[in-house]
């Protein structure tokens, strides 16, 4: 049998503990990276369903929470008026009024959209159960009547029963499963009881969608205002050129490309990835300190074995390779255990927190393998160096 393998098999419990320690470090690396990146990727993927190239929001607003100033919907016309070479850059502008609610154990983003804009926002995602909110446009029509062509109306003029027509929302399939919610269930939003009237395929940018008019009414917004807008760029115009044109003409607005959302999100939530990165860095270092300690102990215990090998003519390279091989065997075992634990962790996390995404990609597994092997080699250097320097005679004279 190969000596390094025989050695690590000789101390099964210690080897097992070392493999487990490395495995935990490796699995933390895989799970935390897959969780932080997976969650961002999942949001970005949902955003890709939006059928609009530009995202327009107030300069003062926070891109993640979208908390800040509201924009007057006159902005819609201003955007539509922006031209390049006499041609309007935007063909359609979709307002969104953002709110939030607590569902399935966590804060959910709620987008109030015009019922006619569902296609633009959901990008073809189908309602798989029930129907759309304000499907017959009753509430939208009521608000239009109240407004009667004016910019302002009194939200308090809406009676309780009239508002009741608008208290509808749809949720995505994943949230429905996580919240164990079904059609007809009531959920609280902005102090009102909303009824879930539909469940839409997973993949829409906000897991909860409701009527723009309803949200504004409850919020007491007398004049049409929105949190942000999505602008569809005319086909003949380049999105970047359109972005620059709108930003130039309307300097009070922040204009981003929806396709660049991944980068914006990653920059904005950098802390959300840095913290897991730091945690996994620490856990990996601790794991490899465990290897170092294990191999160091093995070297101390086996000074006689090393001396015997010396007496047989083994050179420093042979001793060094043997020690590194043992560390690598532990690392390889740790990598295998770590990958198994990662999939176990993914199952556990996703069953307890169904809205979290642990997206274990090949690249994270590859990273874990590289970190495991490099860590194994590095952590064995000091014990290997000590082994090479050990005095063989002192060891051979031991009883």
């Amino acid at each position: 049998m190969w000596l390094p393998l025989a050695n690590i098999l000789h101390r099964k419990l210690r080897t097992g503990l070392s493999v487990l320690a490395v495995g935990i470090g490796i699995s933390m690396l895989i799970v935390l990276v897959s969780l932080s990146r997976g969650s961002i990727d999942e949001v970005v993927k949902r955003w890709s369903s939006i059928r609009a190239e530009l995202w327009v929001l107030p300069r003062s607003v926070d891109v993640i929470t979208a908390k800040g100033d509201y924009l007057d919907d006159r902005v819609i016309q201003q955007i539509l008026n922006v031209k390049i070479d006499g041609k309007p850059v935007a063909s359609q502008v979709t307002p969104v009024f953002k709110a939030s609610m607590h569902l399935a154990g966590q804060e959910q983003s709620v987008w109030g959209i015009d019922p006619d804009d569902l296609e633009t926002i959901a990008g073809g995602k189908k309602i798989i159960k029930g129907r759309q909110f304000d499907a017959e446009r009753k509430f939208k029509t009521l608000i239009a009547q109240k407004r009667a062509g004016r910019r302002d109306y009194d939200p308090d003029s809406i009676s309780k029963s009239e508002l009741g027509e608008g208290l509808e929302l749809i949720i995505d399939q994943r949230l429905a499963q996580a919240a164990k919610a079904n059609i007809g269930d009531s959920v609280g939003l902005l102090g009102k009881k909303f009824v879930i009237v539909g469940i839409i395929e997973t993949g829409v940018p906000a897991r909860v969608l409701t009527s723009l008019q309803t949200i504004r009414c409850i919020k007491g917004v007398s004049r049409a205002r929105s949190t942000f807008y999505f602008a569809r760029v005319n086909k003949s115009i380049d999105a970047v050129a359109a972005q620059e044109a709108i930003a130039k003409d309307l300097p009070g607005l922040r204009v981003e490309r929806t396709g660049a959302f991944a980068g914006i999100l990653a920059d904005s939530v950098a802390i959300a990835t840095i913290i897991p990165d730091v945690i996994c860095g620490i856990s990996v270092v601790v794991s490899f300190l465990f290897i170092l300690l294990t191999v160091y102990t093995m070297v101390l215990e086996r000074s006689k074995e090393i001396a015997i090998l010396r007496s047989l003519g083994a050179n420093s390279g042979f001793i060094h390779r043997g020690i590194i091989s043992e560390a690598l065997l532990i690392s390889v075992g740790g990598i295998v255990v770590g990958i198994v634990l990662s999939y176990g962790g993914k199952m556990l996390i996703e069953s307890h927190w169904p809205l979290l995404t642990v997206d274990i990609k090949g690249q994270w597994l590859g990273l874990a393998v590289v970190v495991g092997l490099v860590g194994g080699v590095l952590s064995s250097q000091m014990p290997a160096w000590l082994a090479v320097r050990a005095d063989p005679l002192a060891a051979l004279s031991e009883a």
């Binding site: 025989a6 006689k304 074995e305 001396a307 007496s311 047989l312 003519g313 050179n315 420093s316 063989p392």
Partner: protein, 223 residues
């Protein structure tokens, strides 16, 4: 015509105990020729084992002249000394010094592996020569002390060394095993005409079997 394997003049070796320098070899003058069977005898602590380790290049001498196969050992670096030991010298120890996690066969194989040789046939033959072919898969802990020493001898001789250095090879054995091991060492030495054997012993029978006896007292060879 015989050639000189080891030659020392005024060989010195000190050990350090804390800050204290303890002289162990105090000027050894010896000449060992190829094919000789030399026994080194002397009281405990007189430096026999240290002499063997210096000759086997397990440690450096501190003074005097030491030539091995005509080369000045002082001029060899550690890598060259290790290479010389690997290619020409083998040890047998009193406490066998087998690798406990490996089988008898793997222990013998290790000596070849270190030389970059992996011949199974040589391993089997070596174990047959010491009468342990049937126990080649046993681990040292599953063998008697006599058998363990025979494995150690097989491991030493499998590479056909030019010099066998044996440090009290029968010191841990009963009289019956001592006799068997001694006969084995002497028999294998006789079979290999060019092999030089230097052994340390207290055993009268071995002393009688040696071609030459060197007696050490207080780090010197008694003349």
């Amino acid at each position: 015509m015989s050639s000189v394997v080891f030659e020392t003049k005024g060989l010195l070796k000190n050990f350090r105990v804390d800050s204290l320098k303890v002289p162990v070899l105090r000027g050894i003058d010896i000449q060992i020729e190829q094919g000789e069977f030399v026994a080194v005898v002397g009281p405990s602590g007189c430096g026999k084992s240290t002499l063997l380790h210096v000759l086997g290049m397990m440690c450096k001498h501190d003074g005097g002249d030491f030539r091995a196969w005509g080369q000045n050992v002082s001029e060899l670096n550690q890598r060259q000394r290790t290479k010389m030991r690997r290619e020409k010298i083998a040890f047998v120890f009193q406490r066998f010094n087998l690798l406990g996690v490996l089988s008898a066969k793997n222990n013998v194989q290790m000596a070849l592996k270190i030389r970059g040789d992996h011949t199974d046939h040589q391993v089997n033959q070596a174990l047959e020569e010491v009468g342990l072919a049937e126990k080649m898969h046993f681990k040292p802990s599953q063998l008697s002390v006599g058998e363990q020493q025979r494995v150690a001898i097989a491991r030493a001789l499998v590479c056909r060394p030019e010099v066998l250095l044996a440090d009290e090879p029968t010191g841990s054995l009963d009289s019956e095993n001592s006799k068997a091991v001694m006969e084995l060492i002497r028999g294998l030495h006789d079979e290999r005409a060019e092999q030089t054997t230097i052994l340390i012993t207290h055993n009268r029978r071995i002393v009688d079997a040696a071609d030459r006896v060197l007696e050490m007292i207080d780090g010197k060879i008694k003349t």
